[in-house]
Every structure is written in C-alpha cells, then in structure tokens.
C-alpha cells in the first residue's frame, strides 16, 4: 500500500548504491531545490518583520535592519514622556538640522487684545533664532526653562508670539528622527508640527544613530489589528469546522452505502458520482448562486458549508476504497449479532477508519481555510469576511503599500496550516500519497 511505503525512509538496496559523487551531487541538487522552494517563504517572514521604510528600498536588503537612536518613549500628552527614561529604539531619519534648534513645549499664545489663545499640545522643534529668553532680545542665548517664541501657525502669514518652555537645545548637524512604528505611512503626522503624534520623536547627535539588525515584531499585532484578523479568524474557523464535520460525516455515510449497500445501479451511480468531479465550478456557479439567492443565503455563511453536509464526491471515493479494505468478518459478525446498519457504521466502521476520516477532515479544513472564490461570491459584508477575503481586501484598500504588514498577516495566515502539517506530518504524507490529487 502506498500508505506504508510513504513512511519508508531507508531506501531498499535494489535501487542500487550510489557512488560518492552521485550522492554528493544529489544532495547538492536537493539542497538547492529545497532552498529555492523555501526562499519565498523566508522572504515572506522577513518582509513581515521589516520596518516600512526598508520594504521600499531598492535593491532590497535581506535581513530586517533599521536605524536606532536613543529616545524617550512616546507617552500621550508629550510632557509625560519627558519623565520616562530614554531607550534605544528603531527610528526613521527625518532630516539633519541646518541651524541650531530647540525643542520646546507648553507653547501658549500670548493673548494680546482680542487674540485667540492658541496652545500646542505636543512638543515643537523650532530654530533657536526664533526664541528669546522671557523678556530678552531675539538671538540672545536661551537656557532650558521659560522662553518666548515667534512662530508661524500653519500657512497663516506672519509670526505670532508664544510663551513656552525650552526642554533642550540641539546644535546644527544633529538629526531629527521619529520612532519607526508599524503602521507609519497609514497614520502620518509630521513630527514637530505641534499636533500630538502617536510615536516618539527627538533630535539626536549623528553618532547616536546606528544601523542594526532588528526584527520588528510589532508589525504582527499591527497588521492583524488593521485587517480585523480576530473576527476573520472566527469566521474562517466557523465555516471550516462546520464544513469539515459535515463532509466527513456525510461522505462516510455515502461511502458506506456505496461499499456495503446493495441496490440496482450501484456501480453506475458510483461511476456517475466520480464523473461529477469533472464538472467545473464555473459551470454551476451562476444557477447555484440563484439557488442560494432564492433561499436568502447570500450574505450568510450557509452557501459555504451547508453543501458539505451532503458529502463530496472525492471524499466518498476515498472512504469507499478504505471501507472496502476493512475486514468483512467484523461487519458480518455485527450483523449476526443484530446490529442495525447505523450501529455498524458508528460502532464498527467509524472506529476502524479513524485515519481515513482524519485525512478527509484535514483536507477539507485545508480547502476551506484556503478558499477564496466561495467567500468572494457569497459574502457581502466586511464583518463576515474570511481571512482569505480580508487579506485580499486589505491589500487592495491600502493600494499595496504596507507590504510589511501584508506579509506579517500572510505569515500568520499560513502558520496554522504549517503547524498542523508539522504536527500531523504522517497523516498528511500518507493522505497525499493515497489521494494522489486534491488541491
């Protein structure tokens, strides 16, 4: 049987011993081929752990790499962050300062007669030339502490006068950096504009900037959050599990009928069952859609799993083959003991067929997890999307820019199947060897 053969790892001697060179060549070929097959996966995982900026680089870099600098971490409200101790974090270089600057905060407009008292919530980066000590002259050196600032608000012409607190001064040549956050590019606010930004920023001396290999694990939660992964996971699991239970049970039932039932035209009906596998889905798609529409099932999960509860031709074929290999004596003995067919099915056939049933269940789960066209046809509301559909929608909505998040989400999407494979490798390999197709 194929099943047993697949587990043989030691080659029988008949295949002939290989000379050392042939062996080496073969190993080389297999290593190379395996590398070629696995490289795309490695690229998916690595891209998912890169900062956005790195994914835009051409030519690309292989390992996730980012510039880091010592910054105080972001905390809502700007000033609160000042108490935190600085950390080395991944940053994006914004620009090099061409003149001495200062970082100020608590900038409040000096409300002269009739003016709005505008205040800035976040810290500001301003040229030193625009600062003066409180009550002093422009250009006089300022120390950390209270100061006055002339500042142009947005595109309004003319500079207005603000009172502020100088936090630190930085010489020309230092670099403005902002923290590299996973969904930057999707939520951009310019650092230093005075509006609160959800990431840390600061000015650092050039020697503090270092390029280092760093895996951006934050991409994973950010990507999953952005595409509402949790809900989609639930939807996908719901559809996959319902269909899986249904098709395993119903296909086994029908396979039992075809294996042990006796009725006129059984062979013809079974052959016909197999022949229906040749009908392409596009050929039934339109009327089937109408059927589901009449039933009011469009926009529900039902079109994606209900049909599984009637069995599937391929699974019936597989299970029938398996059932025919079961010891007949057991079934006959059960019949003589007065068991009904249903009892035989549940108490004799099912327990003996666990490997085959597990295989059918596994392959349906795989199919449902990967399915794209079904959900595309029948699901209308975003809250019902499966992961397949959600990932595709995520890519097309974002115009294909946040590749690091898309790849992080794609990795997480693929992971369960790979883990399942590693855990159930024997069942998989045996199943694949037995089926010869599917997928």
């Amino acid at each position: 049987m194929a099943a047993d053969a697949a587990e043989k790892d030691v080659a029988p001697a008949e295949r002939g011993a290989l000379g050392p060179f042939a062996r080496l060549g073969l190993q080389g070929f297999l290593l190379l081929a395996t590398a070629v097959f696995l490289l795309p996966l490695a690229w998916m995982i690595l891209t998912g752990l890169k900062p956005l900026e790195q994914t835009l680089k051409s030519p690309p870099e292989y390992l996730p790499r980012t510039e880091t600098a010592t910054l105080k971490p972001y905390a809502p409200g700007g000033a609160a962050a000042e108490d935190a101790s600085p950390q080395r974090m991944a940053v994006v270089r914004q620009r090099e300062l061409d003149a001495p600057h200062a970082i100020v905060h608590e900038a409040r407009e000096l409300a002269e007669a009739g003016e709005r008292g505008k205040a800035f919530e976040d810290r500001l980066l301003v040229p030193l030339a625009d600062l003066r000590p409180a009550g002093g002259a422009w250009g006089e050196p300022v120390e950390p502490g209270p100061a006055e600032l002339r500042y142009q608000v947005g595109a309004e012409p003319g500079k207005r006068l603000f009172a502020c607190t100088v936090l630190e001064t930085c010489p020309a040549g230092w670099v403005l950096v902002k923290e590299s956050v996973p969904d930057a590019g999707l939520t951009t606010k310019p650092a230093g504009s005075g509006e609160p930004v959800p990431y840390a920023w600061g000015v650092v001396p050039p020697e503090d900037l270092r390029s280092e290999v760093r895996f951006m694990w934050g991409n994973v939660p950010a990507g999953l959050r952005k595409m509402d992964f949790g809900r989609m996971l639930f939807n996908t699991l719901w559809i996959a599990l319902l269909g899986m239970i249904g098709t395993t049970f119903a296909s086994a039932l029908a396979a039992y009928g075809f294996a042990f039932g006796s009725f006129r035209g059984r062979a013809a009906l079974f052959a016909f069952t197999l022949a229906t596998m040749m009908i392409p889905f596009p050929a039934t798609m339109v009327p089937l859609y109408q059927v589901y529409r009449e039933l009011g099932w469009i926009g529900t999960f039902k079109p994606l799993w209900v049909h599984s509860w009637f069995g599937a031709a391929f699974n019936i074929f597989l299970l029938r083959q398996f059932f025919l290999g079961l010891p007949r004596d057991l079934l006959d003995a059960a019949r003589i003991d007065g068991c009904s067919e249903l009892e035989i099915f549940f108490h004799v056939v099912v327990p003996l067929s666990k490997p085959a049933l597990a295989m059918v269940a596994l392959f349906h789960f795989l199919y449902a997890w990967k399915d794209f066209m079904g959900p595309l046809l029948y699901l209308t509301d975003k809250s019902q999307f499966t992961i397949s559909l959600g990932l595709q929608a995520f890519l097309s909505q974002q115009g294909g820019s946040p590749w690091h998040l898309v790849m992080a989400a794609a990795t997480i999407f693929s992971l369960p199947l790979v883990v399942l494979f590693v855990l159930a490798m024997k069942t998989f390999i045996r199943g694949v060897a037995m089926t010869g197709i599917k997928g």
């Binding site: 039934t284 559909l389 890519l395």
Partner: protein, 329 residues
C-alpha cells in the same frame, strides 16, 4: 455480504448531488440559451449567446490564455514533480526533511501565496529580480547576441544600452526577459505558471509514494538485464508511474481550466496587463456578476465544460495506449 438496507445511506448524497451540482449544471445549460439577468426573467434567445461568444475577442483571448496556461503549467508541474520524486527516491540522507520542505509551499493559502509572489516578482525591488540581476549582468553579452540573432539588432550607436524588445516578448507575455532594460520582467502568464510550479510538492509526494511501491522483482530483473539508471527509470519506473501521472494530468487539466483566485488576486480582478491573464473563469465571473449577463456567462461555462470533457477524453485515449496498468496499478 452487501445488504439492501445500507442503500439508504447514499440518499443524502444523491439529494445533495441533485441540488448543488446536477440542477445548477442543467440549469446553466438552459440559461445559456437565454438572455438573463438577476432582475429580469430569462428570455429565450436561441443560440445567439454562443454565436456572440464565437466572435467575442475578449472571450477568445480568455480561451487562448487558459489553453496557454494549461499547456505551460501542466507539463512544467509534472516534470518538476517527477524530478523531485526521482531525487527523493534515491538512497540519500535527509529525504524526509526535503520531502516536507517541498510540500510546505502547497500549504500556503492561495491568497497569501498570490500576494507573496506579487511581492517576489516586483520588478523594482523584488527578490527574484534582485537575485537574478548579477546573472543577467554576467550574461549580457550573450543576451545582446541573442537579441541580434532574433533580428532585433539595435542601431550600432545604441548597442549595449538599449535593445528593442522582440515583439513576441513584449509585456513579458511569454518569456520574462526584457532585453531593453536587461532585467527580468516577469510577465503575467509566466508568473502564474511559476506560482503553480511552486505548489508542486503535492504531486511530487504522490509520485514518490508510487515509486516506493514499484515491486522489487522489477528492479532485480532490470539489474540482471544490465539496465542503467536511465533505462530503469524509462522502462521500469515510468511505466509503473504512468497511471498516476495520467490521473494527475486529468485532475490538473480540470484544475487549470478552473483557475480563478490567483489571477484575480494578482491583477486586482482585472486579468491584466491588457488581458494577459484573463482566463475563462474570470470571464464567466465578470459577465455573471459584474455585467449581469448570466445567460452569456452560462454559455461560456458550457464551452469551458466541453473543453474539459474533450481534453479529459483525449488524455484517457492517449493514456490507453501509453499507460501501463499491470499488477492492478
């Protein structure tokens, strides 16, 4: 001892078959002779849908694309799978690792793999272009000569800088080499084929299992006859594999003619560039659900089915002559 009582067990299946396959299948044949949209009742129009399809340039393009895809992806898949199976069958260390590694890409969900390959084949900073760039640079004299040999020689002053792209290679429709930019522009169709070959691990494992089933006597007989490695493959292993290859080819034909998700995802539902990856299932989908021409879509789907049936028949006919069914397969 088959028993009559057990026949009741096939009833749910028959019901499901009727409702979910046979009725829609027959209905789509009926609809194919009507003008039908969601809002209007079907109206009989005779064979005019088929007549229109026969002169619909987009349908012809989709049909051609589908055939090209099948003709490229199926042989490529079978050859690569056979190569892997043969290599894994040899007595070398680590075959279970290699076997698993080759199978894993098959597990990546369609959407994820389609998106991943878009990213890999990105001409600007994709991994494939990056890895092959040194190779292309090294081969550039040869490519220049090849371009000249193909009758696309540029004026001498432009030699080495800009080649006119041979017309059959424009858009990388068939081959991915862009002579002009001296880079690999993976054309749309080769990308789809590449994606399908990447998932070939499944088939390789099937072939491997069949190879491991080849009876020892046959190997021994071949050895006594003094057959070498190739002769053993050609006259012992290949005949033993032939039934399963045939089966795989038939299933692959059915699969290739239904291919929808990959081109849909990779081209944002457009089948682009310029209909280069517009396949028949996409044509059916667009007509049925975007243009609401359901009768027209059904007619196209019956042509698709006819083609599948025809090719399957051809495969079995060829198989009858070539396939070896000894020893109960």
């Amino acid at each position: 001892m088959p028993v009559p009582r057990a026949r009741a067990f096939v009833v749910p299946w028959i019901l499901g078959l009727l409702v979910f396959t046979l009725y829609p299948f027959a209905a789509s044949f009926g609809y194919s002779f009507t003008d039908y949209s969601v809002l209007r009742a079907p109206e009989y129009v005779g064979g005019s849908n088929y007549a229109e399809l026969a002169s619909d340039a987009i349908f012809q393009r989709a049909l051609l694309n589908t055939l090209v895809y099948a003709m490229l992806s199926i042989p490529a898949g079978v050859l690569v799978a056979l190569g892997f199976a043969k290599a894994l069958h040899a007595p070398v260390r680590g075959t279970s690792f290699y076997r698993a590694a080759i199978y894993v890409p098959h597990l990546v969900p369609t959407v994820a793999s389609a998106i991943l390959w878009m990213w890999l084949l990105n001409p600007g900073n994709g991994l494939v272009a990056t890895l092959l760039r040194p190779v292309l640079d090294a081969a550039s004299p040869f490519l220049d000569a090849l371009g000249g040999w193909l009758g696309q020689a540029p004026p001498p002053e432009a030699r080495g800088t800009s080649w006119k792209t041979p017309s059959f290679m424009q858009d990388g429709r068939l081959l991915g080499l862009d002579f002009k930019e001296r880079q690999l522009v993976f054309g749309a169709m080769p990308s789809l084929v590449l994606l399908s070959v990447w998932g070939v691990g499944q088939m390789a494992i099937v072939y491997l299992a069949k190879l491991q089933d080849v009876p020892r006597e046959l190997y021994e007989a071949a050895r006594i006859d003094g057959a070498g490695g190739w002769a053993v493959f050609r006259h012992v292993e290949l005949p033993q594999l032939s039934p399963v290859i045939l089966f795989n080819v038939v299933m692959a034909i059915i699969g290739a003619f239904q291919l929808f998700a990959e081109p849909y995802i990779m081209t944002g539902g457009q089948g682009g560039p310029d209909y280069a990856t517009y396949l028949v299932p996409m044509f059916i989908y667009d007509n049925a659900f975007d243009y609401h021409r359901m009768g027209y879509a059904c007619a196209a789907s019956w042509i698709l089915f006819g083609l599948i049936a025809l090719l399957t028949l051809v495969a079995f006919r060829v198989g009858q002559r070539r396939v070896h069914y000894a020893g109960g397969g």
